[in-house]
Subunit: 439 residues, 2 copies
């Protein structure tokens, strides 16, 4: 292997060779409307063969995945990088500041050895004691906001949490980390995604599937990587940081509106649905995997922290009693998210009640209990009928995200046409207009 | 490579070599309580290195995966097999008989080119015309039972379908294939698993994600492999036969109680949850992957085809109105399956209503909306509290299977203690008592 492309192999080696690039070249990588400029770095570890590593001007290394629509251009020859991974010359810089807000959950829990049960009890300072590495990554400000198992977190907590994050952003922190129970973390991450608009910095929810006093705990790695990401990632979105695999070495950052807890106990329980995770963190290497909104401290945060509680989520199943829909009408609900089957269907016996609900002014959105994929209500007659009566197909939105979004929408407006428009406006990357990687 | 182990390689080659086995040897493979006896066959294709292929006494070849707990013993030396794959000497055998029952769905549909929508219209005879290969695999008996999009299939159809399958089994067919829409196929497969007990032969549901007059249709392969499996598989269970991957070459057979539609549109939408599929079919090679109940035509079918409709499925989410539980109490429900969060939790604000419902005589079972994994209500205080008030943790059962099972249980008995016992009795492989492959 040629020394001017040290560490690169396979497809990436061929690609760089073809482009006549060498380690140390200053290059620009353009993809869609975005670009990265930096010095082409050597790869040290047992690397895969589809990432380029760039050293950005701000000093951070990022890994960028080879992509067909990507244009790579040499824009200068840099000084050859001379350091090795273990002896990187440390610039004398001021550490970034990260706020850690604790809401409870396993990550902030200890086992009660008397009953064997887990209590949310660890304080934020305790967390720093348990994971001392954090103080080398950032100046940490800690705050205990709640001490709740996450099944007890609901919309009034989302509101308070959004306001607390806003407070820290106004104080000028570089990133915010939120310790949260895993059970409803994805609901909260969706809620914050809608409540915190025009975010200048990353807001990262983190949890653990095994409490921090157990040997197999995932708490330390998740927390360290969440703080790392909050301190220096270029992504200014609400994200969830959890293990990518069962091994305790890699975490991924999931977009807050696209993530779901998909296993009761595994450490890699959280999955991005219908998109890839936004980024992967392995040691000091951060790989960006998806398009994202860039960090920009000059951006002005807009906080819209309220949620309407009279919004329901109803999962269809064979034999679901059609009278349950009356219940929502009789109890003053604004809207209902249906978890239909397949491409977005429910039994035809429900149609009269759905029609009546829409006539009464409820908004009914359709998602799929399949979880993966996109609703498409133009394929079968019954989907077409549902649309004609006013049911709104919610593209590839997760049912849980759709629920939270509708709760948020009705806190913004109760004018039906505005609410419908807002429901279909892409606020926080909660849906895609077309499906990639479909086979 | 030695000729006496033609086609074997890697680990499997080493293993067979170590055991001093040759092609043509008669061997017995024992795993747990089961064993297979047959002639060790050569492998012809680009085979993987972890399956043994045996020719059973009934003439069928099966692939068996190498497994640590497996004992392989040579019990005799057989005549060397002399045929090649393309010139297998055909024994003059009577073809097996397979009944194809059509209920509708995309697999039995045609696109209406006027509206672009899909109608369930194809007759069973049409299916034979579209897929003429079927007549070489088995003598086919066809029956149109319904012409329904599967979102319109409910428990009274399950009853009628179970009775129809029973009729064909009594007529002595070797296997039954059911064409069904994919939307609720997993609910129906669970229902038949409970309704058809002590099955002597395979009962295989099959669907397609793309209609059979579209170029990318998965209908033909799914149907061919379902008929193949119904004709000759040694597994006598209710199963679902669908694509394993996006490629149109391999199908898998999922246990009827463990399968879920996990994508709105992909051809590999169906996944076995918490176990592997029971078997894989690739061309003429059938590989058994999990323990199963064996085909035995002497077994006497017991049909228990009824389902109680006053059973509900309720998905918990932050802010779920606790009054919805009153609705089930007020409307004469026998029981409720909760789709809790994580290990089996719901917000504590629901506890008073749950306690009241149990006091009124409802059975409440807990499953997880995570889908994968097992509920464990002994880890957190709140889970322990729920159990104390009588909520029943339903192990690693799918929420949809748990719903169908509870509907079936209350058609068998309305005595509470008997119903609870039945709910926790493993009727059709619907749960495991311990979790394998957990990391």
């Amino acid at each position: 292997m040629s020394t001017e492309l040290s560490g690169y192999k396979g497809n990436m080696f061929k690609f760089l060779k073809k482009e006549n690039l060498q380690i140390g070249d200053i290059i620009r990588i353009t993809r869609n409307d975005e670009f990265f400029e930096g010095i082409l770095m050597p790869r040290y570890e047992l690397a895969d063969d589809n990432h380029i590593v760039l050293k950005l001007k701000n000093g951070y290394n990022i890994g960028i995945k080879l992509h067909r629509e990507m244009v790579v251009m040499k824009i200068g020859v840099g000084a050859k990088p001379t350091y090795k991974l273990s002896h990187q010359p440390k610039e004398k810089t001021v550490l970034p500041t990260v706020a850690i807000i604790s809401t409870g959950g396993t990550i902030a829990s200890r086992v009660d050895y008397r009953t064997g049960a887990v209590h949310p009890a660890l304080t934020s300072d305790d967390i720093l004691t348990v994971v001392p590495e954090l103080s080398k990554i950032a100046n940490i400000k800690t705050k205990i906001l709640f001490s709740l198992l996450s099944e007890n977190v609901h919309s009034s907590h989302w509101t308070k949490l959004a306001q607390t994050v806003a407070h820290y952003i106004q104080m000028g922190v570089d990133g915010v980390v939120i310790c949260h129970g895993t059970d409803t973390m994805a609901y909260t991450s969706a809620a914050l995604s809608f409540a915190l608009q025009n975010l200048p910095i990353p807001v990262i929810l983190v949890g653990s599937q095994r409490s921090s006093d157990r040997p197999s705990s995932d708490a330390a790695l998740n927390l360290i990587n969440a703080v790392k990401a909050a301190a220096k990632m270029p992504i200014a979105e609400v994200m969830v940081c959890m293990h990518e695999t069962a091994s305790d070495t890699i975490t991924v950052l999931h977009r807050g509106t696209r993530v779901r807890k998909c296993h009761t106990s595994r450490r890699d329980a959280f999955k991005s649905v219908n998109i890839r995770p936004l980024a992967r963190i392995k040691g000091e290497e951060i790989t960006l995997l998806e398009d994202y909104t860039r960090r920009d401290p000059k951006k002005h945060l807009i906080t819209t922290p309220n949620f309407e509680r009279k919004v329901g989520l109803l999962k269809f199943y064979p034999g679901l009693d059609s009278n349950t829909i009356d219940w929502y009408m009789d109890n003053g609900y604004f809207g209902l998210i249906l978890e239909g089957t397949g491409l977005g269907h429910v039994g035809e016996y429900l149609f009269p009640k759905i029609r009546k609900a829409i006539e009464q002014g409820l908004i009914i959105g359709m998602t799929s209990q399949c979880i993966w994929g996109r609703v498409n209500m133009n394929v079968y007659d019954t989907g077409i009928d549902l649309q004609r009566m006013g049911v709104i197909p919610l593209k590839d939105m997760l049912p849980e995200t759709a629920l939270v979004k509708m709760m948020w929408v009705f806190s913004q407006t109760t004018v039906l046409e505005e609410a419908k428009k807002l429901l279909l406006l892409n606020i926080a990357g909660e849906f895609s207009d077309r499906t990639l990687y479909e086979k």
